[in-house]
Amino acid sequence: MSDAPAPSPISDAERDELRRHGILLTSVQEIYNWGRSHSVWPLQFGLACCAIEMIAASMARFDLARFGSEVFRPSPRQADLLIVSGTVTKKMAPQVVRLWNQMPEPKYCIAMGACAISGGPFKQGYNVLKGIDRFIPVDVYIPGCPPRPEALLHGLMQLQEKIRGQAIAGPDAPPHLRDDVRGDCTVPAFGPHDLIPPKDPSLWHPPVIVRPD
């Protein structure tokens, strides 16, 4: 994700010079993104052992509050960030997508841990979704089984960087500022063996690999 700010009429050096003299010169985009990136409220929602690390990250030792994310909201209507922390079983997947759809824009998703990324050690199983990115657009992937709280903090900092780099207008605008991108995701239905559909083709394509025959 590019961190490039919008083209500005003055250079960074000139702006720093002004700041030294007590004059704060900024753009609407910069201050809007600065505010958003430092008040990312995650949804209070855990799925498996990764949730324990997420709780540890929010406690005093690691202190997620330093990044403005200490307010874990118990309702998706008040949350900005969905941390998919753990194994998403096929039975749970529709509920996770529903929670995502109930969150207001702008919203972000972190896939925390091997299970949320790809199914992890349960990838071969009949009952585990092989990655939440099959149904939800994921912004930051945090590998690990489970990831350390420091890794979650790093993932959050990456997300803040991504938010700060977002434009509020133009073709690079995030989905909630554009009309041509739909806001909600397909909620899968339960089938006799698998979810229907097993993946959202508009979001996820199988990686193309070349297999020698």
Partner: protein
Amino acid sequence: MLPPLDELRRLILTTVPAATVTIVENPGPAAQHSLLIGADHALAIARFLRDSSELRFDTCSNVTGIDWPEREVVDVTRTEVPNPAGGPPKVIETKAKRVVPGCLEVVYHLYSVARKHGPVILRLRTANRADQVTLPSLTPVWRACEFQEREVFDLYGVRFSGHPDLRRILMWDEFVGHPMRKDYVEPDDYEWEPTPHDEVLAKAQRHYPAPPQERLPDA
């Protein structure tokens, strides 16, 4: 003090004379033997174990299922035949194959908090694995069995009669099949794997034919 298992069996048979109670030996180092009880009188036996003042098994800590598929057993019988030429008698081994029919088994672990003893392990077996898979539910005796019997129903397909709410608990309601059975075949819904190998490779090849590859010009 918990009586030994044969004493417990005798106590059960005095209270419920029509019941069939067999002691299943555990040959392993744990030597945790169990009681196989007939399904017809399971409820009466469970009530006795819970209500008897000296036993007082008030806690059912665990319910689980076992799938015993049909298996073939070879019985070897040795007969000694006198050797006509003298010397030691010949030993002739005759082997007879027999088929042990399969069944589904439900295992209950009982403890007594009041009397501080346990566990006593009860086993219930269905008649077969196909159509006669009904067993009496022990949920009326121990409420703790409710979710765990649902789990056994979900994963093994044992139907518990008298259960207040027999639904799937881990899999979704629309799911077909009982995944913990030994002969369960996983649904063939594997997606393209980034690093396919072994069975996954075979499945991936079935589902996703290889894309037409451009021939590299010979160097």
